[in-house]
Amino acid sequence: MTDPKPARTDANIRRTLADFSVPSEPGNERLAMETVAETVRDLDIRGENLERLKTAVAEATMNAMEHGNKYRSEVPVEIMVLVEDRDLMVRITDSGSGPPPAQAGDVPDLEAKLEGMQTARGWGLFLIKSMVDEMNITGDDGHHTIELVVHLGAEGGK
């Protein structure tokens, strides 16, 4: 993992709290999750809201390593943590080609899975969307980015 770079401040009050990468190796989603948790330690996000952010970061990083970077360890997943006004944003970028995952995606249906009509897997994007206030997916020819947004404060987090 590259070391988180020191914070910098943009003119439009957006602050970058961390900018780091992890190799695409199984298990590194936990490294990403713990690094983000440490980065936001002093922000107004704790308890269950923090646990939800950690789960979303882990799932998005796992998606990036598996589907975007095909678990090629030499291809890193880039992670940025930013704050703007009362929003915390975590941007997770892979080097995948082709269309990014559909924002809406298929909603997993437990009964359909138990009856064999859907695969037992396929919970990742649904979990991410359920854990944060906003999930935005963007992409171009060589990259996909999942942006996780949590509204900070008493009403923040789902």
Binding site: G27, M62, P108, W123
Partner: protein, 119 residues
Amino acid sequence: MPEAQVKMNVRGAGEKASIIDVQGELTAFAEGVLMDAYNQASDGQVRAIILNFEDLEYMNSSGIGLLVTLLIRINREKQQLLTYGLSDHYRSIFQITRLDDAIAIHDSEEEAVRAANSA
């Protein structure tokens, strides 16, 4: 495939139930360990499997998928799946995924064993 970061211990809990103690991470890499534990736990007249999550450190979406696979096997065998020891966070994930409709969640081992053996 990387080594699973999980250990599972199987023990009896009355005439009809077995407990699987899950220690560590429930991820895709735990599949072999979980299915071996289930096979061991299903010996004899066991009608209920209880997952003890008191020492669960981490579960991801692949782990949820594993639980669905286990549920399919358990339903096929007309058994029942119960749990106890889930943290508040993983309880909320069970609610969001509706796993709590299919897996009975209990607060303690005593309560889960009582429910398993009275079914």
